[in-house]
Symmetry: C3
Amino acid sequence: MKLTPEEIARIISGELEQPKGAPAAGKIIITGAAGLKEASGTDVSYFSDSRFTGDLHKTKAGAVIISSGIPGFEKIKESIGVPLIKVKNALLSFTLILEILEKERSVRQEGVHKTAIVSKTAKLGSGVSVGAHCVVEENAFIGGGSVIFPQVYVGQNVKIGKNSKIYPQVVIRENVSIGENTIIHSGSVLGSDGFGYIKNGTLHKKIPQIGRIEVGDNVEIGANVAIDRATTGATVIGSGTKIDNLVHIAHNVRIGKNCLILGQVAVAGSSVLGDNVTLAGQSGVTDHANVGANVTVAGKSGVIGDIPDGQVVSGFPARPHRENMKTQAILHRLPDIIKSLKEKNK
Amino acid sequence: MKLTPEEIARIISGELEQPKGAPAAGKIIITGAAGLKEASGTDVSYFSDSRFTGDLHKTKAGAVIISSGIPGFEKIKESIGVPLIKVKNALLSFTLILEILEKERSVRQEGVHKTAIVSKTAKLGSGVSVGAHCVVEENAFIGGGSVIFPQVYVGQNVKIGKNSKIYPQVVIRENVSIGENTIIHSGSVLGSDGFGYIKNGTLHKKIPQIGRIEVGDNVEIGANVAIDRATTGATVIGSGTKIDNLVHIAHNVRIGKNCLILGQVAVAGSSVLGDNVTLAGQSGVTDHANVGANVTVAGKSGVIGDIPDGQVVSGFPARPHRENMKTQAILHRLPDIIKSLKEKNK
Amino acid sequence: MKLTPEEIARIISGELEQPKGAPAAGKIIITGAAGLKEASGTDVSYFSDSRFTGDLHKTKAGAVIISSGIPGFEKIKESIGVPLIKVKNALLSFTLILEILEKERSVRQEGVHKTAIVSKTAKLGSGVSVGAHCVVEENAFIGGGSVIFPQVYVGQNVKIGKNSKIYPQVVIRENVSIGENTIIHSGSVLGSDGFGYIKNGTLHKKIPQIGRIEVGDNVEIGANVAIDRATTGATVIGSGTKIDNLVHIAHNVRIGKNCLILGQVAVAGSSVLGDNVTLAGQSGVTDHANVGANVTVAGKSGVIGDIPDGQVVSGFPARPHRENMKTQAILHRLPDIIKSLKEKNK
């Protein structure tokens, strides 16, 4: 990428503004992007929150994309030392520039690497890339435009939709289906057996896990995630859902659309999440629970039963967040409260 | 699998019953298995809990295996619309059918794939399968009938017993021994160095970790688990123990037989677990703790010292579950209790 | 290794002592090392803590390295049944022996395995080992003496310093730099995309993650760790920092020098840790938090904001450990306290 601030303004439909003391936008060449603090003269940055006005004053960026309508901004505008590009939503426009930069870097050659072992019964769409040392088993299908990075395992009857990206060393075991435009990061495993046993005295007899996984479109799955196949039927990850690193999704879990599942979350067997659920970091959901649509579970919380639509819950066991906060507030003052009550009761 | 309900009844030693309104069992062909809700006409399902009577009435399964002696069942039996197969334990019998279905699918070719790199000093038993892009190092031994899926790493002096299954992209580093009929899921690492350092001022000097891991027979280890080798001696996973996904077992830990270690549990260095211990999801055990036989640790709990045999503990720090429940019960009413006490003391 | 106790004493600059009843040191051959309990007659062991005097009396070790100045030790010395080697710090000296044993075992052939796919534009220093089925992409650089075990992925523009060790099945994606003498254990992923989205109605639009990771010198990273690249700029792991298994480090996190990050810890996006911070097992740090130098966070705690230098914190939300302990102490007596207060207020 080599763009002047004017060219960037055109790309993001922004309005170029030239504060008095700023160098002329026409002479600046932007080749990268960075935060206000880290940016150098060849980077474009962005400003969308008045709390970071100090960083804006000090930035060494070549140009800054700003959100229009930031309170008090017009007053200080002229004192900024770099050309500004005004848009409605600076972060959204900045993201467009990041997309251009990303595309430049991530081109992979089409075709199957000579060291990849691809079954004769597997079918690859047009423009598919299969990297070195991959294994693609019988009857797998990989949709057009998808990129399978090196050292990936694609099991029997796996179906991967169009334009998906599977990063190095992902394992997708048999009978897992993955939608379009879906991204799976390295080290993740889809299709391990669910944790299912029948107690036989003190022994645990394995219940074979012969079900599937169905992952929707526009899903992103982080690094070193583990998603178990269903005992029978399917474990489901709804379209648009984003899963962070080191998450554990047990067998027969059904996750709705556009959920956010943050780092190190665990969802136990057969639980159902509605659409737009957020599970914050290190939280957990017990087995066979129904978590309603639009629920938010705070970090480190533990859901031990059903949660109605739209609730915000926290703590362990997870309760409505406001109630939990009241208890927490008292908890920290408890030594003093008890002391005072005891003195009065002497 | 292509079986009539009669044939299934024979296999599981069950008694075929034909409710009045159900189609004739002789004309039904079963090719799969599923839960009552998901089953189609070619699936066999099972019913062992009267709470799911509603699902039984609505099921589209081709046949249903039922546990004998479910209270009130004889009254409703004739209204069920599918042939029934009565057995002592429906889930156990259903599991036998799942085993037949699983066997059909998981056949792998014997022998060493041409891209696998197997040391000349490694020894493979009869019928062993070593998949594509595997690496098997010096003096490794793989027992007869074991299946090493593609892209697995088997280190020096590793010993794997008979009829074990190592799924794609497992790492078994040097001097780890694994028993018979043991299953290790993708992404798991056995034999990483324990987290051991000597403090030297502010620096941390590494203590070399030259010990082993000993995994027993009939163990199952989930996906993306990490088990560290011992500093010296061995980290031990007892026979019959089942470990879920993303579990962390530190160096020199000794886990007894037939334990259940659920998702995202951590057991810190040198701790010892007796037989038949259950550690529920996201719980943790501190280092150098002794957890007695038949102990159950509730989800998200943290064990910070020894626990006597047979106890059920919960909370952090983990205490006897009943005591912890009493505290929890008061905790949630605390704002009201304190308010009321304060008013009386005005 | 085949050494007499005298030779070991020479290597670790210790003083050989021969208790009356112990076999002659000159006739003992040491070939291994082990703890007091597990040691056999060909092992050297160590003793540095009087709590383990019982184990010392019963040990079957061939020789024991002991710390000088253990209270009361001179009295019992003559009753020990094995030759002793007195040094200042027995664990430190024992570690030297472990290092000798480790070196014997971990020799790998120099050079690039014939099945490794190494880009023509990659550069390897002298004595580098690249194992079977590795992939090394364009413009990667691997410093002299570094060992890349089999099945590792080294992405474009990755830089690995001298004498580092990358164990099997590590993924290092593009633009990640790693220092000298750094160790990364199997299954770890460096450079997955950070979890960054812009909310667009109910949809989550991906923010491309085009930043880097910078890992310092003498760092050790455990198994199945996930470290995300920065959105822009760099995620930083300071020199001398040690990270245990299954840890999650989010994008743009900056970790200081010589920190200890224990098993299953999570650090959320953009948080900053000072030098010498310890995060104990299963603890978490929220996003955009500043954790000061020399802070210790207890196991399972959750840091939800800034923590000043030097504090020890625990609980969730994490508070100064002493205060938290006071609350905890009352908590467990709460049912009794409340009961007693209620009776007085009848």
